[in-house]
């Protein structure tokens, strides 16, 4: 009969790999204070020590341990990416669902509101928001969420509009279900796949935006982050490639594994692919 969600998910090799790597990053980030006790900004040795010597990833232009920076920076990147995405997806889904389900003037009002956010160049908007609120983890999360929800709202609205015309939704109306039940229990599970896929991509972009903000010096100055490490290392790219390459690869692999997990969840949730 039916396999539990977990078994279906793990049978998908790339997803399992993504999850494994993501778990590794999470453990590394959570365990950072134990693995690399003390301040990651602390100077530990000579500058520009190459990787795989005394220190796993070498040291940077001020003699800071890059491995410690990666572990501590992972905390910032993952937390900001995850929380900002969850906030953005929740806002986007809610507004999109209401607009797509009710249509009419509600839809008009919500979509004009969405367009207002979409007309502002997103990254500049994020910079402005962080600058106004002063750089901190909280303000970065708010800024990323604020610039990220409109595409989700548009996507969910479109899906809801199409679904609302489907006969099974009409049947649910005939059965006398409340609008809330129809939105959340009938339609939402059916549009979950695109939301999850868009959401997982968003975690990835959020990590990138956070890195870009930190690169520009708008990161939380008390928190190590991968973007900050790339920004600090960029002037030495020709002499000490590892300053940028190692946090860059960390971003790449993390973003990739998040995407693989997102797709795996989608496949496992979709009953059309369940029976094999």
């Amino acid at each position: 009969m039916q396999q539990p969600f977990w078994r279906r998910f793990v049978r998908n090799r790339p997803a399992a790999f993504g999850l494994a790597f993501l778990a590794f990053v999470v453990v590394l980030a959570l365990g950072a204070p134990l693995l690399f006790p003390g301040d990651p900004f602390r100077i530990v040795d000579m500058t520009f020590l190459p990787p795989f010597g005394a220190y796993l990833f070498g040291t940077d232009s001020l003699g800071r341990d890059i491995a410690a920076g990666i572990a501590h920076g992972g905390r910032t990147s993952l937390m900001v990416g995850l929380v900002a995405s969850i906030v953005a997806v929740s806002i986007g889904t809610l507004l999109g669902a209401v607009a797509g389900f009710y249509r009419g003037w509600i839809d008009d009002a919500l979509m004009r509101f969405t367009e207002f956010f979409q007309t502002i160049p997103t990254f500049l908007f994020a910079i402005v928001l962080v600058a106004i609120m002063s750089p901190s983890r909280g303000s970065i999360i708010v800024a990323i969420a604020v610039i990220s929800w409109p595409p989700i709202a548009r996507l969910v609205r479109g899906e809801f509009m199409a679904m609302r015309e489907r006969e099974f939704v009409q049947a649910a109306i005939c059965l006398g279900m409340t609008d809330l039940a129809i939105i959340f229990r009938q339609i939402l599970p059916n549009v979950l796949s695109p939301i999850i896929v868009a959401g997982s991509l968003m975690v990835a972009t959020a990590i990138l935006i956070e890195a870009a903000l930190a690169f520009l010096g708008l990161g939380d100055s008390n928190a190590m982050s991968w973007g900050f490490m790339i920004g600090a290392g960029r002037s030495f790219l020709r002499d000490a490639w590892w300053l940028c390459a190692i946090p860059g690869i960390a971003i790449l692999l993390t973003v990739l594994s998040i995407n693989l997990v997102g797709e795996g969840v989608n496949d496992a949730l979709n009953p059309r692919l369940r029976t094999l």
Binding site: F168, A171, L175, T178
Partner: protein, 543 residues
């Protein structure tokens, strides 16, 4: 029969990809088509009849679906060995094809005249003036009024019937020896279908064309076929003259198909006159669209339903009959309040539903339930069968465990295996899904069941089973039913009374038996006359 065949298929086999449910789409099929003859290939969906047509034309989606054996002889030449160049010369000029959905077969960005002209340009050396003259003459021949205007029109500016006529003109412009028609009337309304069938037959006689006509509808077969080929799972199970196959079928599968065709004789009157009126509809009106928009020309409003009055007595079944666009589905959705009517009242058992707000209406919803047309779209794909059926009672406050028990009972009532309960809808066939839809509607013990074309998406044999099931359940539970259909054969089988809708109005309303025997309105007479194969009475067969 001494004349050599125009087209002869010898042992034609077409392989399906490995992941398909069977090995071959068409297997070892032999068939002959002569000049001035219509051969109908009949079969249910998945029988391989469309693949057959595409194999002849060399239009199979290679490499997954490909011919693995046999010969296709066209005037003695094996088309399977003809090169692409040769096939291009034959396609269109010598063997033409018309499709089911003319809207998708025509290029939406080109005028009709231009599309036909292109055909002529490719195959014949004519001057522009000659080409034009020829196209105009042909458009006239396919009875398109005002051919000058049609030539300049884009496909979307024509009706479905006009588009199919234009397609036929396009197919015939080069005077092909063979016309392959793949369900050319399935997407059309019954009156248009009758006209197109008459047109195909007339042009075929006039041009002495050989026609390979693919259809699932035995009524259509009875209307036009000279010979009939019956296909099942890619195998030709019966081949013979039309009269023989239709009236004295030999193969069991043909017999079962013909037995499933509903007869056009209405069901006998039932003695239930004293029953009280359950549903009373008066003055219901619905107009779609708004008035003329800024800068737009003309009024774009569509009066879908114009002031309709209806009454259905408890225990009766009223058939709402009409062609597409007649407003019958809109009326049903106004009654069940999926659409807000602009005016009028709907009373169910004395309660004025139209006076209630959406919120107030909710508890009353359980008294009217609906069975939908599309067996694939009407079930939530994320819920199991038993959840689907139980969700109605749960919504109305029945405890979950009790609702699930009701759902399992209903599965038996609609004759589905109890083991089906925990599976998802996509694991079922169309007919089984429609049973699930019926069970879901019955779970709330409604007074009135609205069935919107519940069998028109199903194959004829499955259709007969679902109709039988609906009739059994109705009699057993003494249900009142509003049955919407475009198919008069189905209406004759199911309905006690019939309301004929035309352009948003009910033009005729009365007991089925009277409407069929003595139609009062001109449109009703037209509808009855258009039923394909109306003169053919399916033989009484043992199933």
């Amino acid at each position: 029969m001494s004349e050599p065949a125009l087209l002869a298929l010898h042992g034609l086999s077409v392989a399906l990809p490995v992941w398909a449910d069977r090995e071959r789409a068409v297997s070892e099929l032999s068939l002959e088509l002569r000049r001035n003859e219509i051969v109908c290939v009949v079969g249910e969906s998945g029988s391989g009849k469309s693949v057959l047509a595409r194999a002849i034309m060399g239009l199979l989606p290679a490499p997954h679906v490909r011919v693995t054996g046999g010969r296709v002889l066209f005037e003695g030449e094996d088309l399977l060995r003809a090169g692409p160049e040769r096939m291009r010369a034959i396609r269109g000029a010598r063997i033409a094809m018309i499709f089911q959905e003319p809207m998708t077969a025509l290029n939406p960005l080109m005028t009709i005249g231009r599309q036909i002209e292109e055909m002529v340009e490719i195959h014949l050396a004519l001057t522009r003036r000659q080409r034009r003259a020829r196209i105009l003459a042909l458009l006239e021949e396919v009875r398109l009024a005002d051919p000058q205007r049609i030539m300049r029109a884009y496909p979307h500016e024509l009706s479905g019937g006009q588009r199919q006529r234009a397609m036929i003109a396009m197919a015939l412009i080069l005077e092909p020896a063979i016309l392959i028609a793949d369900e050319p009337t399935t997407a059309l309304d019954v009156t248009t279908q009758a006209q197109i069938l008459a047109l195909i037959k007339e042009l075929q006689r006039k041009h002495q064309t050989g026609v390979l006509f693919i259809t699932h509808d035995f009524g259509v077969v009875a209307e036009i076929a000279d010979h009939v080929a019956v296909m099942q799972h890619g195998i030709l199970v019966e081949l013979g003259a039309a009269a023989q196959v239709l009236n004295a079928p030999r193969h069991d599968y043909t017999k079962s198909l013909i037995a499933a065709v509903p007869a056009l004789t209405p069901r006998p009157r039932r003695e239930m006159e004293a029953a009280p009126v359950l549903l009373e509809v008066s003055g219901v009106m619905k107009t779609f669209g708004t008035g003329a928009a800024w800068f737009a020309r003309g009024d774009r409003r569509v009066h879908a339903v114009k002031s309709v009055d209806l009454a259905v007595r408890r225990g009766h079944t009223l058939g709402l009959v009409g062609e597409s666009g007649s407003g019958k589905s809109t009326l049903a959705r106004c009654i069940i309040r999926l659409i807000e009517p602009d005016a009028g009242t709907v009373r169910l058992g004395g309660v004025d539903l139209s006076a209630l707000s959406r919120r107030q209406l909710r508890p009353h919803r359980k008294h009217i339930q609906m069975v939908f047309q599309d067996p694939f779209g009407s079930l939530n794909p994320r819920l199991t069968v038993v959840q689907l059926i139980a969700q109605g009672p749960i919504t109305h406050g029945v405890a979950a465990s009790e609702a699930l028990a009701i759902a399992r009972e209903l599965l038996q009532l609609v004759r589905l295996d109890p083991a089906a309960a925990d599976r998802f809808p996509h694991e079922f066939s169309g007919g089984q899904r429609q049973r699930i839809g019926i069970a879901r509607a019955l779970a709330l013990k409604p007074d009135l069941l609205v069935a919107d074309e519940p069998v028109s998406a199903l194959d004829v044999s499955v259709q007969a089973q679902v109709l039988q099931l609906l009739a059994d359940i109705r009699d057993r539970l003494e249900l009142t039913m509003l049955f919407i259909t475009h198919d008069l054969r189905v209406a004759a089988q199911v309905c006690d009374e019939i309301a004929v809708m035309h352009h948003g109005e009910i033009v005729e309303f009365g007991p089925t038996i009277d409407v069929f025997a003595d139609p009062q309105h001109a449109y009703t007479r037209e509808l009855l006359a258009a039923v394909p194969g109306r003169n053919w009475i399916p033989p009484q067969l043992q199933r």
